[in-house]
Symmetry: C2
Subunit: 289 residues, 2 copies
């Protein structure tokens, strides 16, 4: 058993799934949880995902040797602040935030520099559903987890976190935090903005009520991520605003270019663009988990 006492701060989809998965792998003794939402605390206890919930993060982490911060990413600093006074010696703290430069910056601000015992991480897994009640034991299996090490990080702490992710079936990759944020702005953050904006645009059309009942499978998949947590994605886009904003500018330019091709009836170029896009997706598909 790798973790005697695990504390989960934030009983959402990811926190709950990590608890379930580690328990199923036989890698954890007791699991304590904290969430400001009493409903999530009830769900986590009722479903047997945690052994106990506490009224404060400080109480939940008091005896933990591993603390997982699984909160909307801009709440990372505040969550860590709440734990700091009651962390035991040797405790490791790790997170699951979708942006890593902001996490390292916020952790450093709370701790007066980046502590050796903090391990920044990001599992590339999830669903559009939120909350511990939707958590899944197999969520991380055959998915990537990115760790973004910092100078002065305890190598043993990092190895221990990596080993836990591997124990729940994930593949661990290390990456620079800035590179991480640039990549996931493209593959994840911008698509969420585009999906949210597309559904909102349709919903504000006069004939919206006729549109949605006639949607098919392509629409459902294209908009699936628009059912994701508004708070979580607000935090992500805000925390990685420079990278997301830059790509959004590129996307707007691309759409304006296509619109102009349509106006100019340059249809061959549009077909070539579609063909190029399909080829790119097919070329890379084998690399997508």
């Amino acid at each position: 058993m790798s973790v005697r006492h695990l504390a989960i701060v934030g009983l959402g989809l990811i926190g709950g799934s990590f608890a379930r998965a580690l328990r199923a792998a036989g890698e954890v003794g007791r699991i304590f949880g904290y969430d400001p939402d009493p409903q999530r605390c009830d769900d986590a206890q009722r479903l047997g995902i945690v052994d106990a919930v506490y009224e404060t993060a400080a109480d939940a982490v008091r005896d933990a040797d591993l603390v997982l911060l699984a909160v909307p990413v801009l709440h990372t600093g505040e969550a860590l602040q709440a734990c700091l006074g009651s962390l035991r010696d040797g405790a490791i703290v790790t997170d699951v935030g979708s942006t890593k430069q902001s996490v390292l910056r916020d952790v450093a601000a709370v701790c007066g520099g980046l502590p050796a015992w903090f391990v920044a991480g990001h599992p590339i897994a999830g669903t559009e559903k939120s909350g511990v009640a939707n958590s899944l034991t197999d969520l991380f299996r055959q998915h990537r987890v990115i760790l973004t090490p910092h100078d002065g990080q305890d190598a043993q702490a990092r190895a221990r976190v990596a080993q836990l992710w591997q124990a729940v079936g994930a593949r661990v990759v290390e990456m620079d935090a800035a590179a991480h944020d640039a990549i996931f702005a493209a593959t994840s953050h911008l698509p969420h903005v585009l999906a949210f904006s597309f559904v909102d645009m349709l919903d504000r059309l006069d004939h919206a009520a006729d549109i949605f009942p006639n949607a098919g499978g392509g629409f459902r998949d294209f908009t699936r991520i628009a059912s994701s947590s508004p708070q979580m994605w607000h935090d992500v886009v805000r925390a990685n605003a420079d990278a997301v904003g830059g790509l959004l500018d590129r996307q707007i330019e691309e759409l304006q270019r296509i619109r102009q091709l349509m106006r100019d009836a340059r249809w061959d170029e549009i077909r070539e663009l579609f063909a190029r896009s399909r080829a790119a997706r097919e070329r890379y598909l084998a690399q997508i988990e």
Copy 2:
């Protein structure tokens, strides 16, 4: 058995799936096929989807009592033109095109007016895969098929086509062609443009090679339709350019508005937009097939 001889002009995903489904339902005697691509003809014969393939559309339809035109939508007129001289008396011709005003216009141009025996249809089903080799017996089960009747259409011809779609498990809905095109510009045509353009934008980034291997499930679903046939979607967007273009303008405006909200750090409004979008999708999700 409802159809003695079925002719499929265009051995793609839809044509092949219709042949498979009708055969499985025991509703068809012999099936003849035509496609300009010899590979697709070979596939259709090898897989037993058709009983025979012909070198020309005219030969394939000669003895058919039902002809299904299943070609990229701007090829509908040309395909029908090729059949016209050899259609037997009483033959019904139907199509599966994603745009219906263009189909009715093109059919009328070829026939000098809309014939009583033509039934314009559109099954709301498909996958991102193309070609008869990817066809599926159950593709239409529990999916909608839209018929867009025209003045002077033979009611018996329409009822017969409707009955065939019902026999393969589909639900038939009738709609005005202009309403159809406005609705599917929103739920289907524009999302394809957005998905193609998004993948193309990413592929042209300097760090594209780092981006794709790090994509997760959200990316895969969001971009799935970018693996669709470039020729088919070129035809659809071109055939419905006014409706798609108008919605693309709205989408560009919506993205510019979000970009401005980001620049102005009006993050509460962005969270509200995300929440509104999620609520709209959830509200309508039960209505999506």
